[in-house]
């Protein structure tokens, strides 16, 4: 890991996660406080027009955050944002990546901007975001 002297296009973040299960969604419902039944109750999801339950966006962002803090201490993250580009289905095996896109100086410290993505096993982008970290 070279987070102390990163270079443009360097991939600082890379992590794969196991397939998302119904059990994981049930646990995340309790662990996150997001009790929206659309993620755990098949009847509710169908009534809302979806073929099945699907992942909380914030579970997927949680995985992306985990991949990020495997590479960068939490105290060095200045911002972290994402767009939820597509629904993450059951069974999705996610890969999170982060590539350096910009070196800058802000607030009197050296920082880098990372472009972040989360894709499923088919390469479909689920999350596209960025983080700014102090180096």
């Amino acid at each position: 890991m070279s987070a102390n002297s990163p270079s443009i296009d360097e991939r600082l973040v890379h992590k794969k996660f196991p397939a998302i299960t119904r059990h994981r969604l049930a646990l995340y419902c309790g662990a996150s406080g997001d009790h929206n039944p659309i993620h755990v109750d098949l009847d509710f999801a169908k009534a809302a027009g979806f073929p099945d339950v699907f992942s909380h966006g914030m579970l997927v962002m949680g995985y992306l955050g985990q991949a990020l803090t495997d590479a960068v201490a939490p105290s060095r993250i200045r911002s972290f944002s994402t767009r939820f580009a597509a629904i993450t289905q059951l069974g999705a095996k996610l890969t999170c990546e982060g590539v350096v896109t910009e070196l800058m100086e802000q607030g009197g410290e050296k920082r880098v901007k990372l472009a972040l993505t989360t894709k499923d096993q088919n390469g479909e982008v689920k999350l596209a975001g960025e983080a700014v970290i102090a180096v």
């Binding site: 995340y28 406080g33 909380h56 966006g57 949680g62 955050g65 985990q66 939490p74 972290f80 767009r83």
Partner: protein, 142 residues
């Protein structure tokens, strides 16, 4: 359905404590093994502020209910965190949320609602700002 009148609307402040047991449940759920999170006075993971606000809100979906939005029609569009100071286990945080914008998209088929939240700790320090964009799938006009 939400309209421009919702902009500027504020909601009941939420106070939440960063409890080690609840945090451990979150870490285990995500298969998080990073030792940085397992110490006393450990930092919280980058998305955990979102959870704390929902867990300790008297009504986790207050703003949806207040704006008469059906939970079944809501998707999460975007999420942003700006961190100003560390948040660690044992902290007590206060979340103050405000509707920043309401924007119709696709000829009214969707409405985007941006809610911004300022987070302060037990010492009054402004530790973070968060911003969430909610996508409402509107019913087709009959």
């Amino acid at each position: 359905m939400a309209d421009q009148s919702a902009v500027g609307r504020m909601f009941t402040p939420v106070t939440a404590r960063v409890e080690p047991g609840r945090l451990r449940f979150f870490l285990d759920t995500l298969g998080e093994r990073n030792p940085v999170y397992r110490n006393e006075a450990a930092p919280v993971p980058p998305t955990y502020l979102f959870c704390l606000e929902m867990m300790d809100a008297p009504d986790a979906f207050e703003f949806l209910n207040a704006l008469d939005i059906d939970l079944a029609r809501v998707l999460h569009g975007e999420q942003r965190f700006d961190y100003h100071a560390p948040v660690v286990v044992g902290d007590t945080l206060t979340f103050r949320s405000r509707v920043e914008s309401v924007t119709d998209k696709k000829g009214g088929a969707m409405t985007l609602i941006v809610v911004e939240t300022a987070v302060t700790n037990q010492n009054g320090a402004h530790v973070a700002d968060t911003s969430r964009t909610i996508v409402v799938r509107n019913a087709r006009p009959s």
